[in-house]
Amino acid sequence: MTWFWGHLGDVLDLAVQHIYLAGVPLILGLLIALPLGWLARRYRGLYPLLIMGTGLLYTIPSLALFILLPLLLGTHVLDPTNVVIAMTIYTVALLVRTVADGLGSVPDDVNQSATAMGYKRGRRFISIELPLAVPVISAGLRVAAVSNVSIVSVAALIGVAQLGSLFTDGFNRNFLEPIIVGVIACVLLALLFDVAILGVTRLATPWQRAGKAAS
């Protein structure tokens, strides 16, 4: 444990970098997946196309994507932006289906009632469908968050600093402690993301507890 206490500051810096590289793509990915998921629901013909297209993106192994993106984008290999974009692609790939299915989980009666009350399509989406789809979307977001935290660590192989750097560092020096610290820190981060998403979901779905409070 001596190594850990001596390098606490470094580990925290790497953890902050890790949160940035895994967290920003989560938000960007959700923002991109929302309209795509809506399109997949609105135009049924697009559903298989969008699901398959994003599914194909998900099959690309992370190390390959980290290496190919800078060549396609013209960015520098060590630029963390590559990792953010790669993780955003994975997040979108996971979330488009979730968003489409989440919107599909909204009961038809509810949509019809909203329409009857005079909600136009856009407003109905924002204030009726989206809030009711939150539980399903949030479940998908939790999966994406945990897998992002794990995949980001691979970026250590191309030299982008985050908790995965502890793995390569420990391996190169034949020293277990940084690796163990890195694995534990990654799992804790995944847990942190999970708790954060659960918390936001709870705040966004007061109606889910309305019945329980009354009884």
Partner: protein, 230 residues
């Protein structure tokens, strides 16, 4: 850059020999298939059993969630540093890396098999019992066929995971297509690195496509809605 990648890929010399593309491709497929086979032999019976009996549900749900959070790169390095010294020769990195591939492939397959059986319509199960089927018969003739789509999707995500991790495992000395990426990065040979990345991405795409075709052919048309009465 695209021209340089094409030039690298179309150079016949890069395809032949002990460190050629064909040999690396065979290694990559060999590791992945072996790991997936072992994982499937463990995870499918276990998942079916848990889904059928409902025993140990809690274990599966938590195991699968926790396994997803463990970074594969860290697990790989830990296994090689920890277990490597216990073996000699090539086995020193082959065995730990192979073990990690198997360990990573088990959770998705297990959760697919479990969730597939668990999610079978209770009506279908009741009907089978009403027809006089016993537990194992219900499992074989009703639950497994109905669970096939989820079993297959578990196998597909495990396959992608294994192909990706086998690529990374080149860093601990494993062969396979990952060698081109890792060696190319080490000597800053961009055409080789990028070509390796293209090869790995294409491999993953083709394997997933093949599994999708397998899924299409073995899943009953009564389930996929592609069944026509006329």
């Amino acid at each position: 850059m695209i021209n340089r990648i094409l030039a690298w890929l179309t150079d016949g010399a890069h395809w032949q020999g002990d460190d050629g593309i064909l040999r690396r491709l065979a290694e990559h497929l060999g590791y992945s298939l072996t790991a997936l086979l072992i994982a499937a032999l463990i995870a499918i019976p276990l998942g079916l059993y848990i889904g059928h009996t409902g025993r140990g549900r809690f274990l599966v749900v938590n195991l699968v969630g926790a396994a997803r959070a463990i970074p594969s790169l860290g697990l790989l390095f830990l296994a090689v540093l920890w277990l490597g010294p216990k073996f000699s020769g090539d086995i020193a990195f082959l065995a730990p890396a192979g073990l990690v591939l198997v360990v990573l492939a088990i959770p998705p397959i297990l959760s697919g098999a479990y969730a597939g059986v668990e999610g079978v319509e209770p009506d279908a199960r009741d009907a089978a019992k009403g027809m006089g089927m016993r537990g194992p018969q219900v499992l074989r003739h009703v639950e497994i066929p109905c669970a096939l789509p989820l079993i297959m999707s578990g196998i597909r995500s495990a396959t992608l995971q294994v192909i990706a991790t086998a690529t990374i495992a080149a860093v601990v000395g494993l062969g396979g297509l990952g060698r081109f990426l890792i060696d190319g990065l080490a000597v800053r040979d961009t055409p080789q690195t990028a070509s390796g990345a293209v090869l790995v991405a294409v491999l993953a795409l083709i394997v997933d496509l093949l599994l999708a075709l397998v899924q299409r052919s073995i899943v009953s048309r009564g389930l996929t809605g592609r069944y026509r009465t006329v």
